[in-house]
Symmetry: C2
Subunit: 370 residues, 2 copies
Amino acid sequence: MANHAMSLSNRKKEILRTVVELYVKAAEPVGSKAVAEALGSGISSATIRSDMAELESLGLLEQPHTSAGRIPSSNGYRLYVNDLMQNQNISNDDAEMINSTLDGHAIEQVRLLDEVGRLTSRLTTYPAYAMASATGIVCIARFDLIYVDCSTFIIVALLSNDTVKNKLVHLTTNIEPPMLTKLSAVLNASFTGIAEERITPALITSTERAVGDSSGIVAVVAGFTIELLVEAKTIGTRVSGAINLLNHPEFRDVDKAQRIIRYLSDEKELARLPSPESAGEIKITIGPENLADELRDSSVMAIKYDAGSDIQGLIGVVGPTRMDYSKVAAHLSYMAQGLSLLLGGIGSDSLQLNAANIINKTGDDNIGEN
Amino acid sequence: MANHAMSLSNRKKEILRTVVELYVKAAEPVGSKAVAEALGSGISSATIRSDMAELESLGLLEQPHTSAGRIPSSNGYRLYVNDLMQNQNISNDDAEMINSTLDGHAIEQVRLLDEVGRLTSRLTTYPAYAMASATGIVCIARFDLIYVDCSTFIIVALLSNDTVKNKLVHLTTNIEPPMLTKLSAVLNASFTGIAEERITPALITSTERAVGDSSGIVAVVAGFTIELLVEAKTIGTRVSGAINLLNHPEFRDVDKAQRIIRYLSDEKELARLPSPESAGEIKITIGPENLADELRDSSVMAIKYDAGSDIQGLIGVVGPTRMDYSKVAAHLSYMAQGLSLLLGGIGSDSLQLNAANIINKTGDDNIGEN
DNA sequence: AATTAGCACTCTCGACCATCGAGTGCTAAT
DNA sequence: ATTAGCACTCGATGGTCGAGAGTGCTAATT
């Protein structure tokens, strides 16, 4: 298939490109006359007609019915994306919006992710998803137990990826500060620096014995630890702007739209979406190239970015195969570049910070029980 | 209008009720014959016809066109909801699902909210929104500063509503444990127990002087404090299952559906949606009763629940005026009751807990900067 | 006075059909 | 190799028609 590009005359390539671009714009089959006009280069529609017939027999174009124009096949799109698509810059307005979103509330990671997804969706007019996850193994770097009152304490855990988690614990048994101190020491000895799967029941019982705990506090801390380590690997996934699908004529069929939106709202499925190999690279899967049945006549574009120590982020967009690949690519690149810069992928260690200008990522909460 | 109910014969009430119920079920105008059959009480369709004509002239029913059946007007729905609707119990299956959601991962408040919204939407088949917010004034109950290394520490703040927030702070200046201890004491003296608006620049400078801080650490803590107090008032708002709208024939018009979904995805607007006076009560606004233009031909049902000390939650549902008010009411009640119980509104203090069965609400995270 | 059977009338909806036009493939001429 | 010309195909558009559902009214019944 890849050698199609080689064997195609330049004119045929131009025709294919034109068909794709016109079809992307108008969502209607493109006729030979329209191509001739768009091309402008004095070639008659009859010539184009025969070229288009050939492109069709190569499987790059399709005809919805005999007397209609042509639309690109998924192979056609693929060839377009690989060889024909021209790089595009995003508009100043769009760049401005992205910049201000990134500058603006670069606050909490989860929220930023949210904003990014929302903006991407809005700019591209397709549903977008954004997620971030740890690349390496996450473990607890240290524990602190804060005594609140005789039946209450707070667990604070600093993770290896600079994330802090906490939990407010209420007991019916009493607990005193010395006990907490002891507990804290033992926990730091036993549960830090190890991956989640190494926190076994055996480890828990031996720790309980070491600290002389019969009330199950150690078990609670262990449960909390496992829970947060699992959670820490994925910072979040969010789909934004799913309704945008409805703007595109291929999803005028409500059922079709619903099927995809439902699919997208399943986080598990989302995690299985195609993902680029490395940061900055854009991965495009077109129509039947998608493994998921639900996406068989849609396309997915995704880009990766570095989000600091051991964290990688992903922004993706889902749309009809008649997607504006070039525009979306431009948006995704710009976005990913901005994010890498902001979250300091590679160059981050050299950033100068001072207390007055402390980076403001953080904050989370916890509700205790009575 | 309220006296309609009084002046209506029982038969007319029954007819109205039947029309509403049949219409809710089938989404098609209801004819006199269908009512006669549903009613079953040997009354002829002709009689019903004249009654329906009267109900129409009272503004309780409407006729899409001359030769069609009747549909309830918004006044008709209102009367139905106020006087005619019969309490309904939710199915065992549904109860089971709600229970397991509440039991299951009653973990983090935000996540629970999410789950609840999602489930509500699924069970009712309408988009749902869930939010929770502090009713009283929130303030910091205590601070703890945890020393990590010479340029890093963690702020842990316990809020008056049993929420714990944290932030990882990196400095370029050095800091030593004794300084942190001192800082901690001063912070606990100055910033605890007061509302967000009382943390003024003046207070900050005076605190800085007291602790001998020139590097701006106090300012950072103050900023963090303000930020989290503001945030603490609203735990979150989330709309789930917006696509469900598309299932209902009144939203087959894609534009109409989009308008509402767009409206619902604006958090600010959401906060302005009608809300019941007190916990357990269901507030229903029908069609034009809604202030927002976008909801003029939709209905909203919402219920409040107690979520523990000073926190109230809200679950709501948005749908066409042809909503299954009775079914939704049943679901909302059950849900709210479950939540009140779980999050321990009133009776919570008397709940028995032991360490082995610690309530599992919590956990949050924070990303530091390099 | 209320109820009801009967009937004429209204209006929507789907089926059927003719027309229109965009676009094609082919052929013959350049 | 390109192109003008032409016959042909097929969806889209719009109009007509009949069926069916439902109404309102009238006259008869209780």
